[in-house]
């Protein structure tokens, strides 16, 4: 590992991020610039930004690590993440864009006309955001520790300072461009090594024994039906409930363009996941000795120098490190933007100044949690956040858009039931430790029963309540009717 090259790579990423952030600061002048980039972001830019924000360190490092560690089960995670956007596309993309709200609590408030529902949504958004940032900071700590022998807490604090600072300085407009840049950096950082590997291994006939490297038990054949189905349901539905994903749709110019943006996102993240999965497959063949818990998550960083000794390996490693840094920065800053929007609008009066303070606050809390806790497996920590988001927010958002009879009480009951059931199941599963019986699987992968429970609660309570909000018809019309007049072919 070449310390100079690593340092240069990290410095370059930080420099470019800062330059784009400052450039963004000069054009971001009004409150609406800060929150939704004035709704002028083009689909490809917006899609790159969404993808940049979505692809976290959990996937950048964790996917190849998990493929190496536990086999093809790992592929369900990216499949679920990508398919989650299919559900976003068909259920929420265009209507949410047309709702004209800044944040999810704004949407819930407008749709249900209830301040209590709004407050509960805000709290859930904050909890989800914090839960999601913590594994990012853990990942940053892990990466700097591996590549540079720096104490882990420096990595976590460094990323937190850059994220909190750049969000507070530039708001969302500059973040949109930063995110778009970070996406292409992440993709390149994994694609370049894969191309080099392909050239190296493509020429010679493979010396590996497929039955040994890719055994049937670790492959698709060894599937656990309940665990897989429950995980997939949670990942699919969870994407709708993630606060930093939805806030991006408010920056598309129309509902139709929000839809095409989502289609492009699915294409972009699919390419990324295929590339990342390839690294995992190569790792199984080349570096089976790294298949240990804790070490496996670093395989994407260690693999290049194993395959290419010397300068080439060092250069590629530096690129991968730059990509990993991009992954930490991208997801964390997106989350901090959406949490700060919520905090500044709910606690203060939605001014630029309060947004800045909120950004600092929303970075500091997860940093303290990250410093106080021990990192778990990156991919599964992120998966748990999806379960929680899917159980608490997804039902209310989807029913709010599509079901006219949803009432404020139904929504409140659903959020409380979903959040407490999934939170309790995940906490119990963590406290009990890894076990193999059926009950433990139900607790470890609760999505299959907590999400239906939340949806059912919303429906039953709304039916009993019958006090539908007064403006339902007007708001539903606004959500679903296309913008008029159609300004030429959209998308």
């Amino acid at each position: 590992m070449n310390a100079v090259l690593t340092g240069v790579a990290v410095a370059l990423v930080l420099l470019v991020t800062a330059v784009i952030g400052v450039y963004g600061l000069r054009i971001s002048r009004t409150t609406s610039d800060f929150f939704v980039a004035s709704r002028t972001v083009r689909p490809l830019w917006n899609a790159s930004a969404i993808s940049g924000e979505y692809l976290s360190a959990g996937t950048f490092l964790g996917l190849s690590g998990l493929v190496l560690l536990s086999g093809s089960d790992a592929f369900w995670f990216p499949i679920g993440y990508a398919a989650g956007y299919l559900l976003v596309l068909v259920f929420v993309a265009a209507p949410l864009r047309r709702s004209g709200a800044y944040t999810i609590p704004d949407f819930v408030h407008a749709r249900l006309d209830s301040l209590t529902a709004r407050r509960i949504t805000s709290v859930l958004v904050l909890v989800i955001g914090w839960l999601y940032v913590v594994p990012q900071l853990h990942g940053a700590a892990l990466a700097v520790n591996v590549v540079a022998d720096i104490p882990p807490w420096i990595g976590a604090i460094g990323v937190a300072i850059v994220v909190g600072g750049s969000v507070a300085a530039g708001g969302m407009r500059s973040i949109t461009f930063v995110q778009a840049f970070l996406f292409w950096l992440k993709l390149g950082a994994l694609a370049v090594p894969v191309v080099f590997f392909a050239i190296t291994f493509g020429g010679r006939e493979t010396a590996i024994d497929p039955a040994l490297v890719f055994p049937h038990e670790s492959g698709p054949g060894g599937i656990d039906l309940y665990a897989t189905a429950s995980l997939l349901i949670a990942l699919l539905c969870g994407t709708i409930g993630l606060p930093h994903v939805l806030v991006r749709f408010y920056t598309s110019p129309t509902g139709a363009s929000a839809r095409w943006t989502t289609v492009i996102v699915i294409g972009l993240i699919s390419v990324f996941y295929m590339v990342s999965g390839t690294i995992g497959l190569i790792a199984r063949a080349v570096a089976p000795d790294l298949a240990q818990p804790g070490v496996a998550d670093t395989v994407a960083l260690l693999l290049p120098s194993r395959v290419f000794p010397g300068v080439v390996g060092d250069l590629i490693t530096a690129l991968v490190i730059a990509g990993a840094l991009a992954a930490f920065l991208g997801t964390s800053s997106g989350l901090v933007v959406s949490m700060s929007s919520v905090v500044s609008q709910d606690l203060f009066r939605g001014t630029v100044r309060s947004f800045r303070w909120a950004a600092v606050f929303c970075t500091a809390v997860p940093l303290l949690v990250a410093l106080a806790t021990v990192p778990q497996g990156l991919v599964s920590s992120v998966g748990n956040v999806f379960v929680f988001a899917a159980s608490s927010l997804t039902s209310v958002i989807v029913l709010g858009i599509w079901w006219p009879r949803l009432t404020a009480r139904g929504a409140i009951a659903s959020m409380l039931v979903g959040a407490s059931l999934s939170g309790a199941a995940l906490a119990a599963s963590t406290l009990l430790g890894p076990r193999a019986d059926a009950g433990a699987t139900l607790l470890a992968q609760p999505g299959a029963w907590t999400i239906p429970a939340a949806a059912l609660t919303a429906i039953v309570v709304s039916m009993l309540d019958r006090r539908a909000p007064q403006n339902t018809e007007r708001i539903l019309g606004r959500l679903h009717r296309p913008e008029l007049p159609p300004a030429g072919p959209q998308g």
Binding site: L86, G221, T351, V352
Partner: protein
């Protein structure tokens, strides 16, 4: 940033600039706003059409994925088909699902656009 050069606060209320939006839609007010029955009916029929389309997309996706999962888990003979050292079920799981997702996404986006164009044509005729 000091008090002098702080930009004026601007409130965004609608889609493409307040002026144009206000010209074609009643201004957003608080409190109940009457919505015409015909309007509600049109909106509901569009909602039903879009909801059917959404559920059909999801159903088709689930069925195709379930079939793919059955193929890669329940056909042991595929394990013997090896490309570049990797058994076929592994390759399908690593690369095969994304095209399925993308095809469904594109199909949905096209059909949803068509539904909205029909709706626009319908409303303009009124």
């Amino acid at each position: 940033m000091n008090e002098q050069n702080r930009p004026a606060r601007e409130r965004v209320t609608s889609v493409d600039g307040a002026g144009r939006a206000a010209a074609r839609r009643p201004p957003v007010r608080t409190g109940p706003t009457p919505v015409g029955e015909a309007d509600t009916m049109f909106t509901r029929s569009l909602m039903r059409a879009q909801a059917r389309l959404a559920f059909a997309t999801v159903l088709s996706f689930v069925v195709v994925v379930a079939c793919a999962i059955v193929v890669i888990t329940a056909v042991p003979a595929l394990d013997d088909v090896v490309f570049a050292g990797v058994p076929l079920p592994w390759l399908i799981q690593a690369y095969g699902f994304y095209p399925i997702i993308l095809v469904h996404a594109v199909a949905y986006a096209l059909l949803a656009r068509r539904a909205e164009r029909r709706f626009n044509a319908l409303v303009e005729h009124e």
